[in-house]
């Protein structure tokens, strides 16, 4: 990828500072490098103390790592943000309508917009959800839509995370850290607050109650437990929302309702904020080997006696193969052109497209359809000969497992390195809350940043870092 094609959010064309970054530039120019280094160390100590770490899978037991945090904020103007919000709302509403449709009448298949094979051969299409009516007809209570920016005006959707989107605690704690370390920045810049996210989420979940809920609905967060990589976030959100943090063995189906074991016996649960993969939710209805879930939970759900957020089976909508149909899906349900663009995507399952991918593999990003977190992915321009040969073999053997995309030039934002400031590629994950009443989008999101020079991999499991994300007031 050539450097002059990359859009830098601070420098744009490389000669003049973009307006929203003027104050940031002034601030950084005035700071001593050593004092920023000390501040960066402070930030790390603060993260360690608060316990904002993630557990690394497959590493030594109990190893906890910090996600690298960069002190230079990423800035988005109110106008840019409003545009993004409109696009997100349109997309999330369409995804929710899509989920209802495919688990009921499948009008989109009947209309010939989506081939039936996309559902039939897809493990993410949850047969158990067919005909089930989630409370309030909401499937996607929370979506984390990954956006990338390519120039002054273009934002693309890279991925729709609607199963169990994570990372919101980093969005919140990054802001807390910046507030503590550089309070003066927030008096000089009018940054829209994000601190209400947990309360707004609780409000949103309480607007999506099952009919059986009574006056004081009981909401809890279901976690796989302290060894899960995102456990810190689960505990953090439960704490901030003031709800119980439960594991499978705290819950039980009692007299046809879901209940949690309190110090005074079992008490009915109305809403489960689920941070567990569908597969492990209920050993009677899904993976029978799961010890993390609750036997019979899905039966209670089917009867409409509990809300599960997000609904089981939403994974079909953020499946990488389904992604390529998203423009059609948005248009089909909203009756409008999509406001946020998709990255062009080749479906390797289709022969012509596979051939194109094989011929142009050096310029493409190859992604495994069911993978996540940057695993099972290959970036053509930076891949070794061995990687390429390896992926070619995989593509020919199981083409339906892969999609390919051009290597888009993700925008860059400066980070503070030991050698001074340097541009690094970023993406943005805003969090969208949905209830029958409204769509709510907290002004901000998680900016993930590829910490090494030229890298496009922002995933924290692959060494990516984060930044505070500012949406300015108008």
């Amino acid at each position: 990828m050539e450097a002059d094609l990359v859009f830098d959010e601070m420098w744009a064309d490389g000669t003049s500072i973009r307006r929203p970054y003027k104050n940031i530039k002034t601030w950084l120019d005035a700071e001593e490098r050593n004092s920023l280094k000390a501040k960066r160390q402070d930030a790390n100590d603060l993260f360690r103390l608060t316990g904002i770490t993630f557990n690394v899978y497959g590493s030594e037991e109990g190893e906890e790592r910090l996600i690298p945090f960069d002190i230079v904020p990423r800035v988005i103007t109110a106008n840019e943000w409003n545009k993004i919000c409109k696009g997100l709302e349109q997309r999330v509403r369409a995804i929710n309508a899509f989920l209802y449709d495919i688990y009921h009448d499948q009008e989109i298949v009947k209309a010939g917009v989506l081939p039936l094979e996309m559902l039939r051969n897809n493990p993410a299409f949850l047969l158990q959800m067919i005909g089930v009516n989630p409370p309030g007809q909401i499937y996607t209570h929370i979506s984390g839509v990954d956006l990338i920016r390519t120039d002054e005006n273009e934002f693309y959707v890279l991925e729709d995370n609607v199963r169990t989107p994570s990372g919101v605690s980093y969005m919140l704690e990054n802001r807390e850290t910046m507030l503590q370390m550089f309070p003066e920045l927030f008096t000089k810049n009018r940054v829209q607050p994000i601190q209400n996210y947990p309360q707004e989420l609780l409000y949103s979940l309480k607007k999506t109650l099952p009919d059986t809920a009574e006056d004081k609905p009981n909401v809890c967060l279901l976690t796989p437990g302290p060894y899960n990589s995102a456990y810190f976030e689960h505990a953090f959100l439960a704490d901030q929302m003031g709800i119980e943090l439960v594991q499978g063995n705290d819950l039980k189906v009692v007299d046809g309702f879901l209940a949690m074991r309190t110090t005074q016996g079992h008490q009915k649960v109305d809403v489960v904020y689920k941070r567990l993969d569908d597969e492990f939710l209920d050993p009677l209805n899904f993976n029978e080997k799961s010890s993390l879930g609750v036997p019979g939970l899905f039966d209670v759900y089917r009867k409409g006696r509990v809300t599960i957020a997000n609904a089981p089976g939403t994974g079909i909508a953020d499946d990488k193969a389904m992604y390529s149909f998203m423009p059609e899906i948005v248009e089909f349900y909203s009756g409008e052109f999509p406001l946020l663009q998709n990255v062009p995507t080749w479906r390797c399952a289709i022969k012509d497209q596979l051939n194109y991918v094989l011929d142009n593999i050096h310029e493409l990003v190859i992604k495994q359809v069911h993978g996540s977190g940057g695993y099972g992915m290959m970036i053509g321009p930076t891949a070794t000969k061995k990687d390429i040969a390896n992926f070619k073999r995989k593509l020919i053997a199981t083409p339906q497992d892969y999609i390919a995309q051009p290597t888009l030039s993700l925008s860059t934002v400066p980070i503070f390195t030991n050698k001074g400031f340097a541009p690094r590629h970023v993406d943005l994950r805003p969090f969208v809350q949905m209830s029958p009443e409204k769509i709510n989008i907290v002004p901000g999101g998680l900016t993930r940043v590829a910490m090494s020079k030229g890298s496009l991999v922002v995933n924290s499991s692959q060494g990516g870092g984060t930044k505070d994300t500012w949406v300015l007031e108008n």
Partner: protein, 313 residues
């Protein structure tokens, strides 16, 4: 409140108390080793006996040596009651009930864990001991202060305190029981000043050396030590003090939940039957038998609390 959360809080505080008690025992051992001319490494065996970690120690070491004993009590991975093991499990429990703790308490526990883990990395030299023990003591004070100052006085707080005081009662009873015979009235004549290494060890192990002399004077004898650590309500590590605090929090749970489960009758019985007499009656009953009885009653109480408040399925 979840039964599991009650469980997590109870054990977080039990284990923190355990780590603190262990550090106090080590400090006592070290102090006596340095200030007594005729002390030998054998002294450490007694310290480990008091901490109830000596029989496991013997499985890993052939003889009692200061360095090995310190390593065993501070950080040996096979010792479940080592300071590092206790504080690691305490922090793991706290992590699981993070949402039931205030930010101040969580950060105090997590920060203490990080500091202590860091101090206990690598080989421990004797000269590092004082900074290690001081850090542990300060950490314990920090967690206690954060708990006292920021936790709501609700059921969560009750379970934290129950954990602390069950562990403390057990600890005090064990310290007394390991050397119960030096406390019997027949063991010495009245009027000798407290210049007995055994007594000093006992008193220092519960941070009561100065307090005891202040309150009971130089004339006091060994039976006064027993009285002080069993029946003196002013002493925050005495059995009766622990019992009072346990009663207070069990009663508070009764009033929160509007019921009186078995654990409450147990603490009432424990106090009425065993802590309403004077020290002479206890000697008559048999000090060793009495302490054994107390240890087993506190263990029963702990189990009953687990059952009454549904810690487990």
């Amino acid at each position: 409140m979840l039964g599991n959360t009650a469980n997590g809080l109870f054990w977080t505080y039990r284990l923190l108390e355990r780590a603190e008690n262990m550090s106090r025992l080590i400090e006592t051992g070290q102090r006596i080793a340095l200030t007594r001319l005729n002390s030998s490494d054998k002294q450490w065996l007694y310290v480990m006996q008091t901490a109830a970690v000596s029989s496991e120690y013997k499985k890993y070491y052939n003889k009692v040596e200061k360095e090995a004993a310190l390593d065993w009590m501070l950080k040996h991975p096979e010792n479940n009651s080592s300071i590092l093991s206790s504080i690691t499990s305490a922090r793991q429990n706290a992590k699981m009930v993070r949402h039931a703790l205030t930010t101040d308490v969580w950060e105090a526990i997590n920060g203490s864990f990080l500091d202590i883990q860091n101090l206990l990395k690598g080989k421990i030299r004797e000269r590092d001991l004082s900074i290690i023990l001081r850090t542990i003591k300060q950490s314990a004070a920090l967690v206690r202060g954060a708990t006292y100052g920021t936790m709501l006085r609700n059921e969560e707080y009750d379970f934290c305190r129950l954990g602390t005081f069950i562990e403390r009662a057990d600890n005090t009873a064990r310290i007394l029981d390991v050397k119960y015979y030096v406390l019997l009235p027949s063991a010495k004549a009245v009027g000798t000043s407290i210049d007995n290494v055994q007594w000093e060890t006992i008193l220092r192990s519960v941070s009561a050396y100065g307090g005891f002399r202040l309150e009971y004077g130089h004339e006091a004898g060994p039976s006064d030590i027993a009285k002080f650590l069993i029946l003196d309500k002013r002493m925050p590590r005495s059995l009766i003090y622990c019992c009072e605090i346990l009663k207070l929090h069990l009663l508070s749970l009764c009033s929160t939940y509007g019921n009186k489960p078995a654990s409450f009758s147990q603490i009432m019985q424990l106090q009425n039957r065993f802590l309403t007499h004077d020290i002479e009656a206890i000697f008559k009953f048999g000090l060793h038998d009495f302490l054994q009885k107390m240890i087993s009653l506190f263990a029963d109480l702990s189990e009953q609390i687990e059952i009454d408040y549904r810690f487990y399925e």
